[in-house]
Symmetry: C2
Subunit: 337 residues, 2 copies
């Protein structure tokens, strides 16, 4: 079990003081003889020395770590987001700690606390809004950016999708295609802004065209709630052609599985569409109409905002909530002919 090489040893081998080595490490070559510089360089390579970031961080209370806290690392939204964040942070010399909360308030709190103890330099998170007080405290000394879901917390910025607009657009598209009704399938709305806005967009679009909203509440923890959705469709058969629009990709997955075995005729009697763009939209026939969220830009914006806020000369921004546009991807599942 070899010991790690320290700055001491480098200095000793190079015949200089640790101060000089430290200067070298931090690229402050201004006044340093070419000779010492090269000597240190050689020794560092020889010894395969790497500065201990823990020690470096201890001095200035900086860890050079930014944390991304998401509900579920398996969700395509989160994966794409995390990748985008990485791509911005890594070149900037920061590493990313990825944490999962499962949407659980207590777990989120524990994560937040452990992250603070680790002196993370920045925090990007997708939250249910159950720990806003803690976030407020954290934000007083660490840059915090909310993604996907926004909450009004002093000093905290947010980046979100244009949920309401996109939802309205999709609903309108369905109605324009000729579907007489659109059943909207969603989970409990509660405090999650995203769900709220999507629902609002749906309702607004219905009202605008004089169609009565038809909302079906489900719960992913209770599979039988999905059969209610199917039942509702069966019952209203005389209203066909109608459409089903799910508030997110996970719901569509559940619904779709039940639907195909019912032998519903898509898209002519039943149109289907979803928020999110699951990876299987092009594997099914007809292909699935969906809303592609700007995950990449969301991640980039969040990471850049963190970087901005970590800069010494940071001044509070004009925009507290950044809204990014999503794209309606037309599949064959809503092409009524």
């Amino acid at each position: 079990v070899r010991k790690r090489v320290t700055i001491q040893e480098v200095a000793r081998e190079a015949g200089t003081s640790i101060t000089t080595v430290s200067r070298y490490l931090n690229g402050r070559y201004e006044n340093m003889s070419q000779e010492t510089k090269e000597k240190i360089k050689k020794i560092i390579e020889m010894l395969d020395y790497q500065p201990n970031t823990l020690a470096q961080g201890l001095k200035g209370n900086r860890s050079r770590i930014v944390a991304a806290v998401v509900v579920n690392i398996g969700y395509p939204y989160c994966v794409s987001l995390i990748r985008a964040i990485q791509d911005v942070l890594t070149p900037a010399g920061y590493s990313l700690a990825v944490c999962e909360t499962g949407g659980d308030a207590e777990r989120e709190l524990r994560v937040l606390q452990s992250l603070q103890a680790q002196q993370v330099d920045g925090l990007i998170l997708q939250t249910n809004g159950d720990n806003n007080e803690e976030l407020h405290k954290i934000a007083s000394r660490t840059p915090v950016v909310l993604v996907d879901r926004t909450f009004s917390i002093p000093r905290v910025a947010s980046v979100v999708t244009d949920n309401e607009v996109a939802s309205n657009t999709l609903t309108t598209h369905l109605l324009q295609q000729g579907y007489k009704n659109v059943m909207y399938v969603t989970e409990e709305v509660g405090q999650i802004s995203t769900r709220d806005q999507r629902l609002n967009g749906y309702i607004a679009a219905c009202c605008a065209r004089g169609v009565e909203p038809w909302i079906c509440w489900v719960n992913r923890a209770h599979p039988d709630t999905f059969s209610h959705a199917i039942d509702a469709l069966e019952t209203k058969k005389d209203a066909r052609p109608y459409a089903v629009y799910t508030a997110n990709g996970l719901l569509m997955k559940e619904i779709y599985e039940a639907l195909i075995d019912e032998g519903m005729h898509i898209p002519n009697l039943l149109g289907i569409a979803t928020f999110d763009e699951p990876d299987w939209v092009n594997l099914i026939r007809p292909t699935l109409t969906c809303i592609r969220q700007p995950t990449q830009e969301t991640g980039e914006w969040a990471a850049n905002e963190i970087l901005r806020r970590m800069a010494v000369d940071f001044v509070p921004p004009v925009v507290e909530v950044q809204v990014l546009k999503s794209t309606l991807v037309y599949g064959d599942s809503t092409r009524l002919s």
Copy 2:
């Protein structure tokens, strides 16, 4: 911008020395008056104090961080693995740093170096085997466990799927069903043990039944290589019923998209099956036969092995390579009637 609370302040407020506070933090109450104990407890809560893990780590060169380095955080295999690792590590008081390499050797090297600089206490990785020297060095002072792909590196343990057996089983299943040939679709085998073993299992099963292996090499970076696969199938139409078996889920996704528009009759003229269990296996009709890897157990084993190896009294283990069993999940896509 509030400053962080330190152990100093807690000690001052509590009217004790920092040593006592430190003892309290580390749960060494053996000899400590109930009174001081409660006093400290109160002060800590009042001040919302949290020990600085950087400083704690600096002392013993321990960061209480374990890193998981994977090829792609979007792969279901990796997601499931990471979650399992988290579930073992979190209760043990470690946090997990997740890193992505994209299968790129240089990027992997950079990640490994930055991880060392961060003094990670353990390393779990899925590697292409291009930095085995570096890993060898790392393993001399940090527990290292390889997942998914194994390489023979001193002091490094591995956990892998029973690739060869599973591949053999699946191929045999296809042949037994009555498919006269099985086309095996794979990427370049090279040094990646996983691909090697799956190919071997396939070949062995073919030979055992006197069927000539029919291998189709593709490259996900070059979409046209997939059309070659389709062409090959078209050409051999007289050999039907035959089957296509892909070496991983990503390949099946590509192939399947091309296949369905060709109007091939699955499963009666064409059987399809894949290694891995994509999330859409039950969304398509017929449902897809596949091999479910023991991702959960793999993650658990890896994390536990790291924990084991971090213990002071660690003795080199008997098993250097742990092989875990996967499951053949029967879908309708290989049910020849």
